[in-house]
Symmetry: C2
């Protein structure tokens, strides 16, 4: 794989991974997961797990990096949404 | 690349792509983009464009499929959020 392509992948990984940061920070600060959709988060998390396996299986650093970090961020959102769904949103 | 890995990538592509569908449908129906974060959508869209280039460059069907379709969905959200930001949310 050309280094330019690898660089493109790494920048893409950085962008799509940290695109989740504002959403996590906003949800954490507002303590509200109202705008988040539980099925979306669950399906997204499952897809990202598979992408991570795909990344390791094909030995592609950009895919591995993007998905392992995004998985952590999505897991935070999923955890907060599940807590609010199961135990009711905090006042 | 093994067909099992390719299948993993295709399933991952399907999951992470359609994970956006509920968010687009919810936003479309509610006419409200309040829960969406403009910087996140803009950064996400840019990252997905680069992932699409990376997918074509490395000839990987799962990466190409996932990102071209997700780009369309994110573009819808981005368009609605920009409209609300520029022209004010509809009553």
């Amino acid at each position: 794989m050309s280094s330019l392509l690898e660089l493109t992948g790494l920048i893409a990984a950085g962008l799509t991974t940290f695109a989740f940061l504002p959403q996590v920070v906003q949800t954490w600060r507002s303590r509200s997961t109202e705008g988040l959709n539980l099925p979306m988060l669950a399906v997204l998390a499952s897809g990202i797990v598979l992408w991570t396996i795909y990344g390791f299986g094909t030995g592609q650093l950009p895919v591995i990096l993007a998905n392992t970090v995004t998985l952590c961020l999505v897991a935070i959102l999923l955890g907060m949404k599940l807590r609010d769904t199961l135990f009711g949103a905090r006042a």
